[in-house]
């Protein structure tokens, strides 16, 4: 079956994520030929870039053919997609270049060193926010755990997709990480053997410190808790979209909700503030105390 996906302007408000997930729903399981039409698109935020890249690979993994209709791209959108490497990945020879974009990235398999470089140098290391090396390493370690979770728990066939952006006028750094795997609520329901557990309760459980769906008798559940704490200190925001669930965490709230629009995998949207004063590295580990 052949379809044309009309890609509209996509920001990163809640309704924009609905738009992205509806595109995935249009593709379904039986599309053999998908054309991406950007006639109605004047802007694409990095969440859309990461998602569309993953959607293309999703279609291709099901032996579908994908075409980006380059003639429908407006000049600004095209330049942004060229700068961040999306076009180079899918349909052009023009190599990406440095600007305010954090490159579009695909990780079919977990590439620990590559991801560390991406986060440390291409996202945090560009001079947009001044922080010491120690703090940068803390943030890289925390955010890396999102990728680790996607590979360990997501059961994704096609890997993980990322893209980011620096917004100088807003003083913000954004990063989106998306997988087309099995989703957090499914994992939690299966782990707890509670197939009817409501999605908001499943997500709330997943985000508690010390909880993990890891099998095999090894403890887990520390990584997300750390990231939550960091985002609150930074006055940033952490959003998770997984199946029909939504989590939003910032300094004022932790929301766990049901949503109307379903997406099988997990999309994480991270917003950090670039103000130097909001990067506080507090250590609560006393060197003199025994570790165990």
């Amino acid at each position: 079956m052949s379809i044309t996906l009309n890609i509209p302007t996509v920001n990163d408000e809640l309704e924009d994520f609905n738009t992205l997930f509806q595109l995935w729903q249009q593709v379904g399981e039986s599309c053999s030929n998908v054309t991406f039409d950007f006639s109605k698109c004047v802007f694409l935020k990095p969440n859309a870039v990461a998602f569309l890249g993953g959607l293309i690979r999703f279609i291709q993994s099901r032996e579908g053919k994908t075409t980006i209709n380059k003639d429908t791209l407006n000049k600004k959108v095209k330049m942004n997609l060229q700068q961040n490497g999306f076009m180079y990945t899918f349909c052009e020879d023009k190599e990406p270049w440095q600007g305010n974009s954090v490159p579009y990235r695909e990780d079919a398999k977990q590439d620990k060193d590559g991801l560390v470089y991406y986060l440390a140098e291409q996202w945090l290391g560009r001079g947009w926010v001044h922080m010491d090396q120690n703090l940068r390493n803390v943030i890289v370690g925390r955010v890396w755990e999102i990728y680790a979770n996607a590979f360990e728990h997501g059961r994704t066939d096609i890997g993980v997709f990322s893209c980011g952006q620096h917004y100088p006028k807003l003083n913000q750094l954004k990063l989106t990480v998306v997988d087309f795997g099995v989703g957090i609520p499914s994992n939690v329901r299966q782990f707890q053997n509670k197939p009817t557990l409501p999605v908001d309760k499943a997500l709330e459980w997943a985000f508690q410190a010390g909880t993990s769906t890891r099998q095999g008798g090894v403890a887990g559940g520390v990584g997300l808790d750390y990231l939550k704490k960091f985002v609150k200190i930074n006055r940033g925001k952490l959003e998770f979209f997984s199946q029909d669930g939504y989590v939003a965490i910032d300094e004022n709230q932790e929301i766990y909700q049901n949503r109307q629009t379903f997406f099988q995998g997990t999309l994480v949207n991270i917003t950090l503030q670039c103000e130097e004063a909001l990067y506080i590295l507090a250590s609560d580990a006393d060197d003199e105390e025994p570790l165990f």
């Binding site: 803390v138 370690g141 559940g221 520390v222 580990a285």
Partner: protein
Amino acid sequence: MTPDEGQKVYNLTYPELLANRPVELDFAGVEIFASPFFNFAIGQLLRDIPPDTLNRLLKFSNLNSVGRQVLKRVIENSKQYYSNENTRKAVDEVVSEQANSL
């Protein structure tokens, strides 16, 4: 940083610690830390080695404050996890024995 890397460390250290031999883990040059590694490398040790024994035999060198912070959190979490698991197993065993005797 990865579970696999952590498991390799565990596989090397566990037999030594069980044999009551000291182990030193040197983190020189390591700057980025993630909990999956520590869960597998160190957290697992708490499954059947008491904390006092680990404090006595297992030493960490060149572990910076960031790494120490993550490690401490993993250890706290693992202690709870394995104490719950041991409690569960103990209860299961008793229940099973009782069932067999009926």
